[in-house]
Symmetry: none
Subunit: 150 residues, 2 copies
Amino acid sequence: MFRGANKVTVDSKGRLAIPTRYRERIGQRSDGQLVITVDRQCLLIYPLPDWEEIERKLIRLPSLHPQARRLQQFMVGYASDVTLDSHGRVLLAKELREFAAIDRQALLIGQGNKFELWDEARWSQRIDEWLEDEQTGESDLPPELESLSL
Amino acid sequence: MFRGANKVTVDSKGRLAIPTRYRERIGQRSDGQLVITVDRQCLLIYPLPDWEEIERKLIRLPSLHPQARRLQQFMVGYASDVTLDSHGRVLLAKELREFAAIDRQALLIGQGNKFELWDEARWSQRIDEWLEDEQTGESDLPPELESLSL
DNA sequence: TCGCAGAGTGGGAAAAAGTGGGAAATCTAG
DNA sequence: CTAGATTTCCCACTTTTTCCCACTCTGCGA
């Protein structure tokens, strides 16, 4: 399981160093092969085998449903294969950096079987939104959440 | 599986360079032969064998059904055979370029067994639509999507 | 406190990919 | 049959990518 948040920097060539503590696990799981794709506002980073499972699920969705089609289009469409280089870095394609507005400072957030990669500014904006929503009590939670005990 | 987004440029002669990482696969699958046809807003690029399968399916559709007829007409009608040249480029027929409003800057989007080719401006418009819909909570998702865990 | 080791960062050079243009070949129309 | 136009093929230049090396920084132990 990947956990924890790390500040990371993307250098001028678009390279991103994966924090060392994850490298061994990634090496084991997929021989250093990762797939990076887009979410609404951030990028998602999967070990190759985990991605392949997701991809299978996506492809099985009904392709005439516009929302499903769009999800396929974006997630599979942007998915890019990368391999860790000799220093444990991966190259973020320009298209991905543009999509997620990632310039230099970013946050790598462990999320179980994947990572999220956020532009620093967007992330803090998101924190603000979260706190605001809590304030104004925007809480029509789905039943699964209602009964969740933390 | 083809995946990933690439910025590509169509030169003044209408030629499009297929990114190298796909070439080997295309060479194996169809000896460099591709079929390019139209979708509603973009072009579709299939390896020849995959296209032939699609074509068979299309032709078997009930030809009295107006929507099916139209799909046949456009997809089969515009389908054009191309071969990779010595530098891995293909020639986009003028009719196809006009149909999809592809002028110079375009995006090649891997979608499993095929590619989509979008005019750059149209594609970013599509991204905007996606983000908007998500915002406004247009969520009559099909059950397959509701329960999808990424 | 100093120095060493591991991690992170930046940059240079070789190689590969992308791009554009020209010449030869083919086609079309008069 | 010929002249013009279009297509096809190939070559050369430019840009990007990739690989590798070197320097810096931080944290830990001596």
